[in-house]
């Protein structure tokens, strides 16, 4: 089976107008404009097999949306090759787009002034979906996303959550094999987010739809994606499983302990001296934090402390959250860190 998405050495350069400062600059701009070349996507390559849900993350301006737009046939790449569902998106655009669905969280694809159902019917005509298929598909989607009450309302009177669910339906009416989602959960409340995530999982399971989504909400990624591609300044800095990303960057697990008596730091360190990588951070003597790397078993480490006869009042486990990990990576975002990540996979 050929992969759903193949990207090789993809690059996109924009020419952006430079505005000179001040009145004199503005007047000079009037006669001779200066342009700056901005490379949004710098020679990236990746392959996504059919039926995979892949998260595409990165800071604002990292080039995520630009990539999605090239994959969806909206933008023409400056160089490199793209094949999506077997097509070169921008060359055979009209035929190609029948195979994909696209949702932009920040833009509506529904007609603003008319009822939702009118938009759907128009889309049916646009994609030439046979009436029977359309009925079946619409019924299924409407039931699944609980839209029955909204169908006759004009889009401008829907809440964001309602609109987003309608957008999903609109992008799926023609049963695309690949779905691109650009920040699909932006601005939504937790209930709608969860609903949308569950819906996407089910869609992927039942129809084998390949999904590529960009998001800033890492819970989306945790809930949905088996794979993450991380972008920084137009380059891929990580491509692989979410678990691996966590394992590599996680500072391990932490055990927070509260004692009923004063405990000397040396005593604690002695307890775990033979466990490699275990670190202590001692508070006021009544509390301490033990960092346990993933190679060391938690029960092993904890057993040392519990078995020592120290009076323990409270134990709390924490794991480095994906948010923290990603924040860390964005912050360091340096090439050295990046090379480490890519080299490791």
């Amino acid at each position: 089976m050929r992969p759903a998405i193949e990207v090789e050495q993809l690059r996109k350069t924009f020419r952006v107008q430079k505005n000179r400062e001040g009145l004199a600059g503005a007047i000079r701009d009037l006669f001779r404009r200066e342009y700056v070349e901005v490379t949004a996507v710098k020679d990236i390559s990746f392959t996504i097999p059919q039926g995979e849900i892949c998260g595409y993350i990165g800071e604002n301006g990292a080039g995520k949306s630009t990539t999605i737009k090239m994959l969806a046939g909206i933008l023409v790449p400056t160089s490199g090759s793209v094949r999506v569902a077997g097509y070169v998106p921008w060359k055979e655009r009209e035929r190609f787009v029948r195979n994909i669905g696209v949702v932009f969280g920040q833009r509506s694809q529904l007609w603003w002034d008319i009822g939702v159902i009118e938009s759907f019917q128009l889309l049916r005509k646009v994609y030439r979906v046979p009436m029977e298929d359309y009925r079946r598909r619409l019924d299924e989607l409407v039931e699944r996303l609980q839209l029955a009450d909204l169908l006759n309302r004009p889009v401008r009177k829907l809440s964001l959550g309602q609109r987003m669910r309608c957008e999903l339906v609109a992008s799926l009416l023609h049963q695309p094999s690949i779905l691109f989602l650009d920040e699909p959960t932006i601005g939504l409340d937790i209930v709608v987010k969860t609903e949308i995530r569950e819906f996407l999982l089910q869609l992927n399971r039942e129809h084998g739809t390949t999904i590529l989504l960009t998001t800033h909400d890492l819970q989306d990624i945790e809930a949905l994606c088996s794979r993450v591609i991380m972008l920084d300044d137009g380059r891929i800095i990580y491509d692989g499983g979410l678990d691996e990303l966590k394992a590599r960057w996680s500072r391990g697990r932490e055990i927070r302990l509260q004692f009923g008596e004063q405990v000397a730091p040396e005593r604690l360190e002695l307890l775990t001296a033979d466990l490699p990588g275990v670190r202590w951070q001692i508070g006021d003597g009544l509390s301490a934090v033990m960092r346990v790397p993933s190679e060391v078993g938690l029960s092993d480490a904890l057993g040392r402390v519990v078995g020592s006869g120290i009076d323990i009042r409270d134990i709390k486990f924490t794991e480095t959250s994906t948010d923290e990990i990603v924040r860390e990576i964005y912050k360091s975002g340096s090439v050295s860190g990046a090379e480490r990540l890519v080299g490791a996979t």
Binding site: I74, L75, R107, E118
Partner: protein
Amino acid sequence: MYLDLIRIRFLMMLAYRVNYYSGIIIYAVNIGAYYFFWHAIYGDLEAIRGFTLSQMTTYVAVTWMARAFYFNNLDREIANEVRDGSVAIQFVRPYHYLLVKMFQGFGEGLFRLLMFMTPGLVFVCLIFPIELPRDPAVWLLYAAMLAFSFLINSELNLLTGMGAFYIENVDGLIRMKRVAVDLFSGLLVPVALFPGWLAALSEWLPFQAIAYLPSAVFTGRASGEEALAAITLQAVWAAVLLVSIMLMWRAARRRLFVQGG
């Protein structure tokens, strides 16, 4: 599918009733104002450059009515969609963006043709002394020419709107084009009344094909071979503009730069 686009635009126009009513009033006021304006200019004169007052009144009424049909805001719509980036959505649909715009414009034109041009014309005929042609062939020819008016005007709008791919702010260009269309098309003053050099200039511009030529045929200023020449000229302009659109579109596609990442 394209028929449905027309239908949807129709629905959208109906959704904003106030626009509809105010549109009728604006056109009525315009025609009325021009009637009295020409009335004052003519005074005791029998004819100005071969135009009798009644011919002039008919010309004004018919030209404005035609404008209701051919006029649309496709240029502004395209410019806005390019500027706010929503044009991106149009590219993930299996249709041609410009063709869709054209049909939307046609839906709008058809709406105005049926909903206020026809009732408006009846209304105007009752108030002002207007002579309508009696020959059905003229009506038929006029209908064809009106279709070309729409085509040419919309093509110009597409070209202007596509300017948004090249310059950040096309408002100035759009306004300039609008003034040029209103003036050179003969909407404000029939081209026949232009001073010689201006008339010569407008003969070389596509604008007169939008309003002046059809109205000239309709009011009987041009007939027979002259009328045929007029419609041929329209067809030529429509074709020339079509080719320019296609060329510009190809270049614009590569330049497209979606605002907001």
